[in-house]
Amino acid sequence: MIQKCIVGLVLMLCVGLSAKAQTVEVLTFEQLQTRMASQKQEVVVYNFWATWCKPCVEEMPAFEKLYKEYQPKGVHVVFVSLDFKSKHAKVVEFADKKELQGEVILLDAPDYNAWIDKVSTEWGGSIPATLVVKKTGNVQKFHEGSMTYNELVTFIKPLLK
C-alpha cells in the first residue's frame, strides 16, 4: 500500500514537473507583432536574448524576479530567444534547466534588418535588449543593454499607473 502510494506520488510529481516544462513556441516577426498588438496582460516585458549571449543570461534572474513580484500587478515577461531556429532544442533545454518561469519563445526571423527598426528605431542590434509594451494606449519603452532588477523596476514603473 505504502509502495503504491509512493509510486503514485512520484508519478504525480513527474506529471506536475513536465507540465511546467517550457514548450518554447517558434514565432515569425509578424506573429510576434500580432501578439504584441493583442496582448492580454496590461504590461508585457519582451527581453531579447540568446543562449550564447553571456550578458543576456546574466540578467535573466532580474527578469524572473520581476515576473514573480509584478505578475499580480498585470506584468508578463516574455524571453524572446534570437537563437537560430535550428537550435530550438537547445533553447528548450536551457529554459528547462534554468526553470524559467517567464514565457520563452524563439523568434524565427533571420533577416534582422527587416524588423529591428520595427521593434525600436533606437535599437542598434546588440543584445540583450528589452521592449516593454503597455496595452492601454499602446505605450512602448525600449532599452538596449543589460539591466539590473532595480533598473528594470524603475523602467517599467511609469507604465503601471
Binding site: W52, F84, N113, I116, G124, G125, S126, G145
Partner: protein, 198 residues
C-alpha cells in the same frame, strides 16, 4: 554642484554611446597594433579604393559565424581595391578570449588573410560608433585621397549562413562603389554581441 556633475556625466555617457559616424562622414583615422606587432593606419592604404573595416572579436558566436565570410570578403574584394581590416575593441578583462594573445591565436587557427587590430583603448570603436560585433564600416577613398564612410551595418542578411538567396550587403556595396554609385542600402542593422566596454 554635485548634481551638475552627475548631469554632465550622464550627458557625457550619452555622447559616448551615440557619437560615431554616419554615411558620408570622414572616416576617423587610427593607429592600432596588428597581430604581427606592427601598427596599421588608414594612411598605409595609399593604393586602395576603399577599406572594409569590421569590428569583430574572438568570443562572440555571431562574429565567429562570420569569420569564413570575412576571409572570403578579403580574398574576393582586395583585388578589386577593397581590402579588409578587422578590429577587436572588446575589454579583455571581461572576456579573456578577446585579449591580444587570443587574437594572435584565433588569426593563426583560422588563417586570417587580413590585419586584425587591437583597439585596446576602445577609442576607435567609439569614434566610429560601433556598438556590436560584427559591425562593418565600409570606407571609400575620394579624389582628395581621404576616406569617407559609404556603408554601415551587416555583412549580409543571413547570419547562420543557410540561405543561398541571401543579400550580400558589403559585396553589393563594393560593386556599387566600383561603378561610381552609392551603396543601396547604405546602412543595415543586425543582431550581434554588445561590445564589452571598459
Amino acid at each position: 554642484m554635485k548634481k551638475v556633475f552627475s548631469l554632465l556625466a550622464i550627458l557625457a555617457m550619452g555622447v559616448a554611446t551615440f557619437a560615431g559616424v554616419v554615411v558620408g562622414d570622414a572616416a576617423p583615422d587610427f593607429k592600432l597594433k596588428n597581430i604581427d606587432g606592427k601598427t596599421v593606419t588608414l594612411k598605409d592604404y595609399t593604393n586602395a579604393k576603399g577599406i572594409i573595416v569590421i569590428f569583430t572579436c574572438n568570443h562572440c558566436p555571431y562574429a565567429v559565424q562570420y569569420e569564413d565570410r570575412i576571409i572570403a570578403l578579403n580574398k574576393n574584394l582586395k583585388d578589386k581595391g577593397f581590402p579588409v581590416i578587422a578590429i577587436n575593441p572588446n575589454d579583455a578583462t571581461k572576456y579573456p578570449d578577446d585579449n591580444f594573445d587570443g587574437m594572435v591565436k584565433r588569426a593563426k587557427d583560422k588563417g586570417f588573410n587580413f590585419p586584425y587590430l587591437h583597439d585596446d583603448t576602445q577609442e576607435v570603436a567609439k569614434a566610429y560608433g560601433a556598438t556590436r560585433t560584427p559591425h562593418v564600416f565600409l570606407l571609400v577613398k575620394g579624389k582628395d585621397n581621404k576616406f569617407t564612410v559609404a556603408y554601415i551595418g551587416a555583412i549580409d542578411n543571413d547570419t547562420e549562413n543557410v540561405n543561398p538567396e541571401k543579400t550580400k550587403y558589403v559585396e553589393n556595396a563594393v560593386t556599387a562603389l566600383n561603378a561610381n554609385k552609392k551603396p543601396d542600402p547604405s546602412s543595415t542593422k543586425a543582431i550581434g554581441c554588445t561590445i564589452k566596454w571598459k
